[in-house]
């Protein structure tokens, strides 16, 4: 029921053909274990890519070792990824891309016909580095975006305007607030409070997404601790809880409809059973299910 859609992979994973060192992975594996311990059911591993996304960026995912308690959605072989449910008590792990953009031209890689690699990610976030990119992202210029993630630890140099962010809300993009920056030093925390509360102010608490941005176990906090932390940002308890539950689920579904459906209208599910088995079974199963 609780989601944490940002467990950060190290910088080395964000390069084409990148890798994760075993020390880094040990920390991340512990963080995943901790997340499960805290009662999160779904987390996303986040690969941060600067500039243009290429298919070579995807290679790092095949190097990630297995964990007994984790269910990697990208390794599901049957059916579509979200319907292959993890076993009880297992942690569902999604993969997420965060594309850091400072030039509008690179954003073309975030359109599904411009770059099919984005379809391999469960979630795609964009981190705009200036106001122009933010506007383009909120405006829906790139159809593969699910999450808009502004850097909470630095001074933006522009205001988050109602007009711009309102467009993002219309497109049902989630706006990420990661609390990792608040757990760093005091200067970063101050900037975090300023930036995060401005996001809460312009969105009135809708479509906000709490994430951890942790890459080690101590960067995580228990869900209800974070719900309470919303109080600092004038985010009330209900909206704060939704930012880790229903809003996060909405973001995951947004990614799903982008990837697996035709213009978000119809989805085709593969028939999972073998033909031989199907003949034995008496009622003819529908091979294709059309979801509205």
């Amino acid at each position: 029921m609780f989601y944490d859609l940002n467990i950060q992979l190290p910088d080395s994973a964000g390069k084409p053909g990148g890798h994760i060192s075993s020390q880094d992975w040990a920390q991340i594996a512990q963080a995943l274990e901790q997340a499960r311990h805290f009662g999160y059911e779904t987390v996303a591993l986040n690969q941060v890519v600067h500039g243009k996304l290429t298919p070579a960026h995807l290679k790092v995912w095949s190097t990630i070792p297995q964990l007994p308690f984790a269910h990697y959605t990208w390794e599901a072989t049957t059916g579509n990824r979200l319907t292959s449910k993890p076993k009880r008590g297992q942690l569902q792990v999604l993969r997420r891309l965060t594309n850091v953009l400072s030039e509008g031209a690179h954003g073309h890689a975030l359109t599904s016909n411009g770059n099919p690699s984005v379809l391999d990610y469960d979630l795609v976030a964009v981190r705009p580095e200036n106001e122009k990119i933010l506007f383009a992202a909120c405006n829906g210029s790139w159809d593969s975006v699910d999450i808009i993630s502004l850097d909470m630890a630095v001074r933006w140099g522009f205001f988050a305007k109602h007009k711009t962010i309102g467009l993002a809300l219309q497109h049902q993009y989630a706006l990420e607030i990661s609390y990792g920056e608040a757990l760093a030093d005091s200067a970063s925390r101050r900037q975090w409070v300023s930036n995060a509360s401005s996001i809460v102010r312009v969105t009135k608490g809708r479509n906000v997404l709490w994430t951890s941005a942790a890459s080690r176990p101590f960067g995580l906090r228990a869900p209800y601790d974070i719900v309470n932390l919303g109080g600092i940002l004038q985010l009330n308890g209900d909206l704060s809880k939704r930012a880790m539950t229903s809003n996060a689920r909405a973001a995951v579904m947004h990614g799903y409809t982008r990837r697996e459906t035709l213009r978000a209208v119809a989805a085709v599910e593969e028939a999972v059973e073998d033909m031989a088995e199907e003949e034995e079974a008496e009622p003819q199963r529908k091979k294709q299910k059309v979801a509205a």
Binding site: F218, R221, A222, D225, I226, N228, G231
Partner: protein, 172 residues
């Protein structure tokens, strides 16, 4: 006349990732500070000062009290003024270090009476002790010898009773 109202916060200070957590003296290796209830109170006041400045720290000068602290399990029950409990909770969430040891604070229960907090603390304690017992038992089994297994059983019942007695002994 309206009574001055309080909240009771029951939280745990974690120094290791939860997977390595074991209760008491059997705690595995790594160095970590041994805390006292006085140190915990001091830490909270510091954190309020850091996060909410003088006005935040001022709000909790009176009315804040550490009701229970166990240095074995690092469980704490804190009594705070009700008007500011969310502020104090946030300050606890934002804590990353205690005397330079990295740590994390997890809230287990928030309640208007101390009784429910005690019950929550006992429940968490039990779980920690049982987890530790399971680990010990598998270790004993690998080492061989039923005597070792039964001796850990004895320690278990002792530890369970002790923790329950400790926590319920608080005056209400």
């Amino acid at each position: 006349m309206v009574r001055f109202k309080h909240r009771y916060l029951c939280f745990e200070i974690q120094f290791h990732p939860a997977a390595e957590q074991t209760p008491g003296h059997q705690r595995t290796g790594q160095k970590q500070p041994v805390l006292t209830s006085k140190a915990v109170l001091h830490m909270i006041k510091d954190q309020m000062q850091v996060n909410f400045g003088d006005s935040g720290a001022g709000h909790i000068v009176s009315g804040t009290q550490v009701k229970y602290f166990s240095s074995r399990t690092n469980m704490c029950i804190l009594k705070v003024p009700r008007d500011h409990y969310q502020m104090i909770w946030s300050a606890l969430t934002l804590t990353t270090h205690i005397s330079r040891a990295p740590c994390m604070i997890r809230m287990w229960h928030v309640s208007g009476t101390i009784k429910k907090c005690q019950q929550a603390a006992i429940k968490v304690d039990r779980r920690l002790i049982l987890e530790w017992h399971r680990q010990q038992q598998t270790m004993a089994k690998q080492g061989g010898g039923a005597a070792l297994v039964s001796s850990t059983d004895n320690v278990l019942t002792g530890a369970l009773k002790e923790s329950e007695k400790d926590i319920s002994a608080l005056d209400m």
